[in-house]
Amino acid sequence: MREADRREGVWKFLTYTFILVMIVLTIVPLYWIVIASTLPEEAFLTAGTAPQLFPGGEFWANFSALQDRLNIGFLMFDELLGTDFGFLGAIANSVFIAVVYTLLSLVICSMAGFAFAKYEFRFKEPIFYTILATLVLPIQLLVIPLFLLMSQLGMTNTYWAIILPWAANPLGIFLMRQNMKSLPDALLESARMDGATEFQLYYRIALPTMKSSLAALSIILFLFQWNLFLFPLVILEGDKYTIPVAINQLVGAQRVYYDQIMVAATLSIIPIFLLFLFLQKQFVSGILAGSVKE
């Protein structure tokens, strides 16, 4: 008994140590970015200086330098309001695009997932696997055909150009299909008997019971759009840039503005952080508990 306890204790200690190491490895770079954003560039770029542990007072100076360097408009109002919004404009663009994209994609992915999981139709499997297969196509391969497509549709330099191509996100469709499969058929049939239309099955039964999967998927979708770089770089013009493309502007041929990059990176973490906080509540497991007796 005592031997078993001891062994369990050792095992626990090792587990927690491992987790702690992982946390430190994850947090330290983030922490360093935040610290560096508050320091003059020399303080962290000069060889031989010890890394600083505490924030300095240069954040606002770095921030205004960053704002001056970038010419970005506020959403679609660049002609109306001008392009003096600097990096804050890029944040607004990114948030707007990611929110619209996430909502649109949630609707499409959940509908498609519901259909693939709960309906029988001709060529269902081939269609599903074709959608899944597009997961392996790298974005670099898609850039040119997508650009041509978008320019034919007259959508270059619009937000739609980076929202629509990924709205039917194959990963999202796959995840929703897997989750929807766990929805008991009896629940849907019961609603059918209660007089629900097929759309009501989706909207009133499937969606509410899938809340936690939808929350998880929205983070995946949001981050996917948030981090999209190559295609926005190609299809958007300077005044409509999103965060990753805007940050890329700070890497010049002559000079890389590390201090400003650190400020930009720090600011770009905030919306993601808020999103996690907001959705955390939704990750309640076992929402299906008590629906059907096993």
């Binding site: 049939e189 007089g195 008590g290 059907v292």
Partner: protein, 372 residues
């Protein structure tokens, strides 16, 4: 309310050469307000038949009528039927009030005050008024069952369909709900089709029971009719607990010769004229232990039930069961003799299984008189 007419119903799953026939040539009529129980072993097509009536499955061929309306091609929501599922299928994200009221909300134009009133009325009838604010996961199995029933009752449908609604309850609760369900159905007078694999439940609950096997309807009749006059060996074997004792016997003039030295001379040999071999059946309660003049059987196990004893016997290579008075308590290993009345003997065609002779005592007549 509605009379249900099921006409040469056929249901296949899959297509072409892979098609599996789940229900074939099923024909029956359920009277207005009647409680019909569909019973049979797993995979016999009873649930499929129910789902066809519900509109959850398309029929391959045949027609379904509620009253004079042909509902064969109507969707479930257009048929005015309510169904109670085996696993209850409560909406997990809604409280009991919304669960019960959901159907009214979707399929009627009632005001929400009127819906609330009807939900509360139904809840009171089922004794779940204090649970209206709870979510399904907070309820016990019995309470979930009541909510599922409430959801069906509140809509006041033409037809109730129930798919093994009691099978997830423990034995005591099941017996209680059985009675409650019957009372409720009588009170509401709604035509009900009830599916179960439990023949005891079928016998206890049904105004009539329909026995199915291999996708085909074997017999429809009042419980005692099905028990006493089964149309074939399958029905005789399926209905009754413990099961009927069945064995093959050679016909030797007017004598039946069976396994383990079984021999019985028929008083009325006309039944077996033209047969070389038949299947004979004796219900466990019709087996009498006698001290002489009977056939020998070996006792393997004695199960005292308190009011009676179940004897497990072997006759040659045939296992048999007898239900005898609790005062009769032979020892395991002992050889005893049994006898029976010819009235109580069942005979079946050895090839087709069709009944040649069923119980012929006059209780049957008496039952009919009481019924009418």
């Amino acid at each position: 309310m509605a009379r249900i007419n099921v006409n040469t119903l056929r249901k296949e799953f899959g297509e072409g050469s892979d098609a599996v026939v789940a229900v074939e040539d099923v024909d029956f009529q359920i009277e207005d307000g009647e409680f019909l129980v569909l019973v049979g072993p797993s995979g016999c097509g009873k649930t499929t038949t129910l789902r066809c009536i519900a509109g959850l499955e398309d029929v391959t061929s045949g027609t379904l009528k509620f009253g004079d309306t042909d509902v064969t091609d109507l969707r479930a929501r257009e048929r005015d039927v309510a169904m109670v599922f085996q696993n209850y299928a409560l909406y997990p994200h809604m409280d009991v009030r919304s669960n019960i009221g959901f159907g009214l909300k979707l399929s009627t134009k009632l005001t929400s005050a009127e819906i609330d009133r009807r939900v509360e009325e139904t809840a009171a009838m089922l004794g779940i008024s204090d649970l209206l604010g709870d979510k399904p996961k907070e309820l016990s199995g019995g309470q979930q069952q009541r909510v599922a029933l409430g959801r069906a009752i509140v809509r006041e449908p033409e037809v109730f369909l129930m798919d093994e609604p009691l099978s997830n309850l423990d034995a005591k609760l099941r017996a209680q709900m059985r009675t409650e369900l019957q009372e409720l159905q009588h009170e509401l007078g709604v035509t009900t089709v009830y599916v179960t694999h439990d023949q005891t439940e079928a016998m206890a609950m049904g105004d009539r029971i329909a026995v199915m096997n291999d996708g085909r309807l074997q017999q429809v009749g009042r419980p005692e009719e099905v028990y006493r006059s089964p149309t074939n060996e399958f029905v005789a074997n399926f209905i009754g607990s413990p099961s009927i004792n069945l064995f093959t016997a050679e016909v030797n003039g007017d004598t039946l010769v069976g396994p383990g030295g079984f021999s019985y001379t028929l008083e009325n040999p006309s039944y077996v004229e033209g047969y070389d071999r038949i299947r004979a059946g004796i219900r466990p309660e019709d087996m009498r232990l006698v001290s002489e003049g009977g056939n020998n059987v070996d006792v393997t196990v004695v199960e005292p039930m308190g009011n009676e004893n179940f004897l497990y016997l072997t006759m040659g290579d045939i296992d048999m069961t007898a239900r005898v008075d609790s005062s009769m308590r032979p020892q395991a290993g002992e050889t005893v003799q049994f006898a029976f009345d010819e009235d109580a003997l069942y005979l079946f065609d050895a090839e087709s299984g069709d009944a040649i002779k069923t119980k012929t005592d006059d209780v049957d007549v008496g039952v009919k008189e009481i019924q009418s």
